[in-house]
Symmetry: C2
C-alpha cells in the first residue's frame, strides 16, 4: 500500500463513527452497533474491501431509498433444523447476525441448524457470521449471492456474483480456522487497487468478450461496467485448470441463497432496472453444526489443531518461508492493526468528511488532509 497515502485511525474511533453515521440515516442504535461491529471486524482482520471503505455504500443506498434503515424480519418457515426468513429489504448485517444466532440455537438443540434469508442486502464479510458459530463451539458455514460478476465456464458474460462460500471452526490455535473468500479468483476491488497503483491484472483473473485473458486494469474496470469483461471462477478461464469447479461452487451459492428464499438471482441482482435504483433483494444462508453433538469439543479442537500443525509443517516450496492456515493472515493483520489502527485511503477520507458534514457529526475531528467533495458519493 506504499503507493498511496493513508492515514491511520484507531478501531474505537472508526467503530463509533460508523455507528453514528448509520444512526444518522435512521438505523436504530442497536442495529447501528451491529453494522459498525461487522465492518470494523473486517478492518481488524485486514480485509479492507469490506470494512469502513464500504460505509458510504450503505449510507448512499439508504439515503436513496434502495434499502431500508430498519430491518423488519418475517419468519416465513420455521422447523427444528431449518428456517426461512424475509429481511424486509433491511440491513443485511442485522438480519444475518440474528439468522446465524438462530442457526446456532437450532444446532445446540438438534445438532445442526440452517437459516436462509431472502429480500436482503449486502451483509459485509461472510466471515463475521461463520466466526460467531466458531465462537460458540460450532462449525459455521455461510454465503450470499451478489451483483453479477463471474462468467460461467464457456461464457464471457458476467452472470454469477462473487458468491462467497465461507467456513469457520474452532481449534486449539490462537484463532479460529476461517476460510472467508469468494468463489471467483479475485474481486473488482483488487482490480481497482491495481488500476490505482498502475499494475497489470494477472492473466486468468478476468475474461474479455473475446474469451481472452484481460490484464489492463483501467480497461477492465470500464469494460466490466459495460458487461464486456467478467471475473473468472476459481479455476480460471476454460476447462484446463478446472474453472468449471469454481463455476459450479458459485452456482451452488447462488442457488442456496436465492432459490430457497425466492430472492433475485444472477443479473437481476444488479440493483438497477432501466437506469433506476431498485432493491437488491439478495439471499443468504447460515449453517451451524454443533461439534459437541458428535465429539467432545475440546478433543475436536486438539485433533483439528494437530491436523493444521501438520499442514503448517509440511515441506515448504523453495522461496516460501511460511505455510499459512486459513485465518492466520487475518490474525496477523489484527496484531498489527490493534496498535497502528486502520489505513484510511484518501478516497475514503473524502467520504468520511462528506458524511460527517451532511450529518453534522462535529464531534469527529479526523485531521484528514483532503477536501470534501460532493462527488465522493460513489455510484453503487
Amino acid at each position: 500500500m506504499s503507493e498511496e497515502e493513508y492515514t491511520y485511525v484507531d478501531f474505537d474511533t472508526l467503530e463509533r463513527f460508523m455507528k453514528d453515521v448509520m444512526m444518522g440515516t435512521g438505523v436504530p442504535e442497536e442495529d447501528a452497533k451491529v453494522v459498525a461491529d461487522v465492518l470494523i471486524t473486517s478492518d481488524k482482520r485486514g480485509i479492507d474491501s469490506h470494512g469502513v471503505g464500504r460505509l458510504m455504500m450503505y449510507y448512499a443506498r439508504i439515503k436513496r431509498g434502495q434499502q431500508l434503515s430498519t430491518t423488519k424480519i418475517t419468519v416465513i418457515k420455521d422447523n427444528p433444523g431449518t428456517a426461512r426468513w424475509d429481511a424486509g429489504n433491511g440491513m443485511g448485517h442485522v438480519v444475518s447476525k440474528k439468522a446465524m444466532q438462530s442457526a446456532i440455537d437450532k444446532a445446540k438443540k438438534n445438532g445442526i441448524g440452517l437459516v436462509v434469508v431472502g429480500n436482503s442486502n449486502h451483509f459485509g464479510i461472510a466471515g463475521y457470521y461463520a466466526l460467531m458459530a466458531a465462537d460458540q463451539g460450532c462449525i459455521g458455514i455461510c454465503g450470499t449471492n451478489a451483483r453479477p460478476s463471474i462468467a460461467p465456464t464457456w461464457s464471457v458474460e458476467p452472470m454469477l456474483g462473487t458468491n462467497p462460500l465461507t467456513i469457520a471452526l474452532p481449534t486449539d490455535w490462537k484463532f479460529h480456522w476461517c476460510a472467508d473468500h469468494a468463489t471467483s479468483i479475485t474481486q473488482r476491488g483488487k482490480i481497482e487497487t491495481y488500476a490505482r497503483i498502475g499494475k497489470e491484472a494477472i492473466p486468468g483473473w478476468v475474461i474479455d468478450e473475446n474469451g481472452n485473458a484481460a490484464t489492463d486494469a483501467p480497461v477492465i474496470l470500464k469494460k466490466m461496467l459495460e458487461f464486456k469483461a467478467a471475473l473468472t471462477p476459481l479455476g480460471g478461464i476454460g476447462e484446463d485448470l478446472a474453472g468449471y469447479k469454481g463455476y459450479n461452487y458459485a452456482t451452488f451459492v447462488e442457488i442456496l441463497s436465492a432459490c430457497l428464499t425466492e430472492s433475485n438471482y444472477l443479473q437481476a441482482c444488479l440493483g438497477i432496472v432501466n437506469g433506476e435504483f431498485v432493491p437488491y433483494n439478495l439471499g443468504h444462508f447460515f449453517f451451524a453444526i454443533d461439534i459437541n453433538s458428535m465429539i467432545d469439543l475440546e478433543k475436536f479442537k486438539r485433533i483439528t489443531g494437530d491436523l493444521l500443525r501438520q499442514l503448517a509443517n509440511a515441506k515448504k516450496a523453495p522461496g516460501a518461508d511460511h505455510i499459512y492456515i486459513a485465518g492466520e493472515k487475518e490474525y496477523l493483520a489484527y496484531q498489527e492493526r490493534k496498535n497502528k489502527g486502520v489505513p484510511i485511503s484518501k478516497e475514503t477520507q473524502k467520504q468520511f468528511l462528506q458524511m460527517k458534514q451532511e450529518l453534522g457529526l462535529d464531534q469527529y475531528d479526523f485531521n484528514f488532509d483532503v477536501k470534501v467533495e460532493k462527488s465522493a458519493t460513489p455510484g453503487w
Copy 2:
C-alpha cells in the same frame, strides 16, 4: 479414448459381474448389490475413474485383509439432526448409502440432517450419495478424505486427499444438478491416462519438489509415488490464481471427514505403514437439506431450473458451442452408454479375467482378447 483399444460391455453384465466378484470375496449379497450399483452408476455417468475400473482395487484390499467384506456399523452419537457412525473398517459404499439415507430421514423430520462416518474406506463416487438426496427432494452435500495427494499452497509435499466436495439438487431439468468433483484441479487417474496416450500434463496440475509446474506425465507418476511431486489445489500453484482457496476447501473436507470422527487424516491415510498394508480409516460426511421445509419443492425446482437456463443461455465464449450446467455431461454420457455399453480398457479386461478365474465365475464369457496375468493386481 481413440488411442487405446476398448471393448464395450453392457450395464447389466457389468453390474452382475461386480456383484458376484464382491460376493466371492465375502461381501453379503445385499451389500454386494450396493457396491455394484455405486460402481455402475459411475460408469453410467461417464466417470471412468470410479467405476468398474476400481473393482479390483476393492477385491485386492479385501483379499489382503486391509478392509473387511462385512460392514458392521456402530452408532456412536445420535441426535435429531446429526449422528456419528463407525463403519468398522467395512465397505465404504455400504455404510455411506445408509448414512445418507439416515441424513435424509433426519431432514424429512427436522429440515436438515448430517451424518458423519469414521473408520471407513473408499466409497466410490461421492455423487451417488448426493444424488440419493436429490431423488428424495433434498439438497445433498457429501465428501470424504482420501490418500495424500494435494500440496498445500506454499508447500510441495502431498498432504491432503483429493477430497471431493460434492453437491446435488433437484431441478425441472431432465437430470439433477450435480457438481461431483475433487477440490484438486485434477487427479492421478487423469495423469495416468495422459501418460498412456503420450500427452503432456497441463502446467498447473502438478507441482514438483522445486515448486515448479511438472508436465512430463510418466515422470510425474513416478515422482508422486516418491512424494516428490504433488497435485495442486483448485486455483493452482501459489497465490496468483488463488490456489489457497482450493487448499482451504480441501482442508475443510479433510477436517469434516476426519476430525469429527477421529479417523485418519493427511499422510496417515496412505494405507501403508512401514511397508505393510493397514486399514485406511477414512472419514466421510453426508448432509441432506429438505427443500420442502423452506419452499414448495416444485416451485424450487422451477426457480432453480430458470436460474440454470439463464446460465446456459449466457453469451458464449468464441469457440464454445454450449454452456454446460453441472450434471449435464454425465447425463449425456448416460444417453450414449445406455445403448453402447461401458468401454473396458485392456488393463481392466485383464483384471476381470483374473477375478473371474480366481473366483470360478465361469458363467461370464467376456470374449476379451487379453491374457490373464497374475500381475494384473495393482499395488493400491
